[in-house]
Assembly symmetry: C2
Homo-oligomer: 252 residues x 2
């Protein structure tokens, strides 16, 4: 814990994420408020637990770099991944507002995180309507993601689920890590993670994924890179409903 000492390693204005076209441009005074609420910038290794299920007094982060996921589990250990987190995603909003963490958050890769003051959410609401509006937008957006996953897990078959998940992760990841020639997009998941996100068993996930690969629709390298070879084919398999908007989004 770094007491009240403010040790901002990177000024928010210089934040590399801001340069990404995925995020809406921001006013100088908004940036100043965010910077005043920033406590620290930290790194976490792959596999680290950022927030444990049931934990109270959870911290607030913005994910700067890397992959993570939110999950919930049953007493007997069965685990469900609720959604994946990529750079720009806000972490701890739900927990902050409802006190105890209903879900855990774990790192898939090494992470860089921006740490905010515990009272940040209230400060945003009190001091800057535009930013508090953005926070609400982020909360709504995150729910939309979970809604999508619920539709998948509840109503899609195994092939459909995998196609859908790979497609949407691929699309999201592409914004942050451009595809390296022939190697595909970086996606540091094990098949166990896929299975946990899809509500399938590990074995069945493997067999189904294998069928997709053999069918020439995508490639899943052993170094955890994904290539989509036949995007239209996968989209057809995934039974995408209304084509989803890429949508520029706020970054706090």
């Amino acid at each position: 814990m770094s007491k009240d000492m403010v040790r901002t390693t990177t000024p928010c204005a210089a934040c590399s994420l801001r340069r990404c076209e995925l995020f809406t441009p921001i006013e100088a005074h908004e940036l100043a408020l965010i910077e005043s609420l920033k406590i620290d910038e930290i790194a976490r290794p792959a596999g680290a637990t950022l927030i444990a299920e049931g934990q109270t007094e959870t911290p607030l982060y913005t994910l700067l770099d890397g992959w993570a996921f939110r999950y919930k589990s049953l007493p007997d250990g069965r685990r469900q991944i609720l959604s994946f987190l990529l750079p720009g995603d806000f972490i701890g909003l739900q927990q902050k507002l409802t006190d105890d963490a209903a879900h855990g958050v774990e790192a898939l890769s090494a992470l860089r995180l921006c740490v905010f003051r515990r009272d940040m959410i209230w400060a945003l609401h009190r001091d800057l309507p535009t930013l508090s509006h953005d926070i609400t937008w982020l909360a709504a957006q995150e729910e939309r993601l979970v809604d999508d996953n619920l539709l998948s897990v509840g109503r899609r078959t195994a092939v459909e689920r995998i196609s859908h998940l790979l497609l949407s992760l691929h699309q999201r990841a592409l914004f942050h890590w451009p595809e390296k020639a022939g190697r595909g997009v970086w996606m540091p998941l094990t098949q166990q993670h896929l299975a946990d996100a899809l509500g399938l068993s590990l074995v069945h996930t493997n067999k189904t994924l294998r069928r997709l690969v053999k069918g020439g629709l995508c490639r899943w390298s052993s170094d955890q890179h994904l290539t989509i070879s036949d995007a239209p084919g996968m989209a057809r398999l995934a039974k995408l409903p209304h084509p989803q908007s890429p949508a520029v989004r706020p970054l706090i």
Copy 2:
């Protein structure tokens, strides 16, 4: 459409929902702002579509009385119910913030609804931090509900799912409609709705529900009332994780 005419049938201060101990007390000036944003109070019959999937320009409501649900569906008609809506729930938040409705909303029973101005969310953020904070809280809370359902659909067995859903609906409904002696709590769902919410087929839902009833754990009357006879037994079956907080909540 009632043009710009303000025809508030009930003053917010007299709103019957406010008397429910489920909701946090509210300041006079907060109430005044809410009332200024209220346009109308309307009724809808059971089965009505409040918001269609893909609809743009969605309205904003607070559900005053009755049951509804949010859903998403696939091109071929398979439908997943995302969550159920009870009095006090805010409707249209997600759609408002992301433009097009990613999910539909349908009435299970006859409804009474409070209709708000389209710019309400922004007005709250601009004018009253306490209320904008509440809005964010509601969004976060709704996501928590979906998280729960996703865990269920992804990782629980059929018996567990049904027990869990009935238990949580029963608990929520109890706040609004006290159990009538021996008749149970009003729950205007068909088994098809249960199936759609649980990611199960109608037939299997029926058979599993029947087993619960024959096991003496609950009763599902033909007039759509639910009695939980053996709450601890059902909770054990449902594999409830951490006991959930009833939690007082804001009402907008």
